[in-house]
């Protein structure tokens, strides 16, 4: 395993992302990753706030496309995340913090699915959400905050 990670680290592509002088390599990948985060978690906060009863006058039905935006942003960040991993495979693969960040995301993705299903269980225009749905929103929001912290701290590990 370690031999594979070392080979990946020494590959031309990994070296290019990591060491290239151009801003189109590591800096741009990192910035697109940040943009995806802003889009994904930004939409998640809005949905979670509404589910938790903030701004109750916003009808819940029309918010549904935000879930699609979140998934697009997630795929952007999976792709850029893989590139960032390729740039620094040995340290990332052996980092507890990185493992923790992955764990938070792996737990949160099915929650995001369940949250959408729970909100729209009663139909496309639900008038209210139940306690279970609110708990899902709280858990999902907390996991996003934890993911941001873990990801940000990785830069200093």
């Amino acid at each position: 395993m370690m031999a594979f990670l070392t080979a990946l680290h020494d590959s031309a592509f990994s070296t290019w992302i990591r060491e290239s002088e151009t801003v189109w390599a590591f800096p741009t990948v990192l910035t697109v990753h940040t943009f995806g985060m802003m889009l994904l978690v930004g939409c998640a906060w809005v949905v979670d706030l509404r589910v938790l009863g903030i701004a109750r006058s916003i009808p819940i039905g029309p918010l549904r496309p935000l879930f699609r935006v979140m998934w697009v942003a997630f795929w952007i960040n999976l792709a850029t995340g893989v590139l960032l991993f390729i740039a620094d495979p040995e340290r990332k693969a052996t980092s507890l913090l990185f493992g923790f960040k992955l764990l938070l995301i792996i737990v949160n993705l099915p929650l995001l699915r369940r949250l959408e299903r729970a909100i729209y269980r009663a139909g496309p225009e639900p008038a209210a959400v139940d306690g279970g749905t609110r708990r899902l929103a709280i858990a999902s929001a907390a996991l996003w905050a934890g993911t941001i912290f873990a990801g940000r701290l990785l830069g200093y590990a």
Partner: protein
């Protein structure tokens, strides 16, 4: 553009912009007092008070770049002969307290405006708080400005021997820098960075939905419902201003010598102006279910979202573009 960042230009910029918090605040304060007095005469449809609050919010936002050009000017001229480092440090510390109180004033003024848009009146508690805070800001700005004048012109002080004396009305920039960067405080910077990212996502999420509605999407949501979310955008703004200023005060030279930082400030002012627009703009407020929006609202929404992404881009790219860190 980089060639514009010269010591002379940075000092000029600070001397030019420092009139926003001093002269601007005086004008806004007079406007506020007049609006309070005319209010007691039971004027109907009072628009003067919201105007005063809007001007105060604007000055609070514009004072952000003013404060940053101050430390840039300090870095630019501290090695020149005849410059009192003590006077500069006293000015910086007095300015920091004045800045903090002014930003608080701006936040409460924004809250008063937000409530005014919803209920057609500014809550009396907001008026009283803003009046007191604006008066204190004005006093603190005056103290700071007078110490600042003494950096090059000790002769204007009542007692020139006091040039460089620390005012009791100040917050130590060195203490902030130590908290962020000091020995044993390695956890502070990464924690603030994480908070900075959380604040950014909250502000952006609210901004995105509100502007998309005004750009013609999400037409089944009446805009006044989205208006309810705006305090969360201000919260994100506040978290990021506090964390951002702490980075800046701890390592000013990492920012002031990089042109990308000034671009970030310009786009930030635009994003903050968008928050004011989303809060009070009549065409936005009157956007109901299925209301079609004007091309002007669409253009403003697109420009605001682009500016916010540009703020993120400049911040994220700061270590890679130019010469920071």
């Amino acid at each position: 553009m980089s060639s514009l960042i010269t010591p002379g230009n940075l000092s000029h910029l600070h001397l030019l912009l420092n009139h926003f918090p001093t002269v601007g605040l005086t004008v806004a304060f007079v406007l506020l007092v007049v609006s309070i007095l005319s209010d007691s005469a039971a004027m109907k449809h009072d628009t003067m008070k919201p105007t005063a609050l809007g001007v105060l919010f604007g000055i609070a936002v514009l004072t952000l770049p003013v404060f940053t050009t101050g430390l840039a000017a300090e870095g630019a001229i501290e090695k020149l002969p005849g410059i009192s480092r003590e006077a500069m440090s006293a000015h910086e510390n007095a300015a920091l307290l004045a800045f903090i109180v002014l930003e608080l004033t701006g936040a409460i003024a924004w809250w008063g405006l937000w409530r005014w848009r919803r209920t057609h009146r500014v809550p009396p508690s907001a008026t009283v708080l803003v009046f007191v805070l604006a008066a204190v800001s004005l006093g603190l700005m005056t103290v700071s400005a007078s110490i600042g004048g003494g950096i090059r012109h000790p002769e204007i002080l009542a007692d020139p021997s006091t040039a460089g004396a620390q005012s009791i009305f100040s917050v130590s920039g060195d203490a902030v820098a130590f908290f962020v960067n000091g020995r044993g405080h390695q956890w502070v910077w990464p924690t603030l960075e994480s908070a900075h990212f959380v604040g950014m996502t909250i502000w952006f999420g609210v901004l995105l939905l509100a502007n998309l509605r005004l750009m013609g999407w999400f037409t089944r949501i009446p805009y006044p419902a989205l208006h309810r979310l705006l305090p969360w955008a201000l919260l994100g703004f506040g978290v990021n201003e506090v964390s951002g200023m702490m980075f800046y005060i701890a390592t000013p030279k990492g920012y002031t010598t990089n042109v990308v930082f000034y671009w970030k400030l310009i786009f930030l002012v635009i994003a903050a102006a968008d928050l004011l627009y989303l809060t009070v703009w009549p065409a936005a407020w009157n956007t109901g279910v299925d209301t079609r929006t004007h091309v002007r609202e669409r253009a403003i929404g697109a420009a605001a979202l682009a500016s916010f992404v540009a703020v993120m881009y400049c911040g994220r790219m700061l270590p890679f573009l130019g010469n920071s860190f």
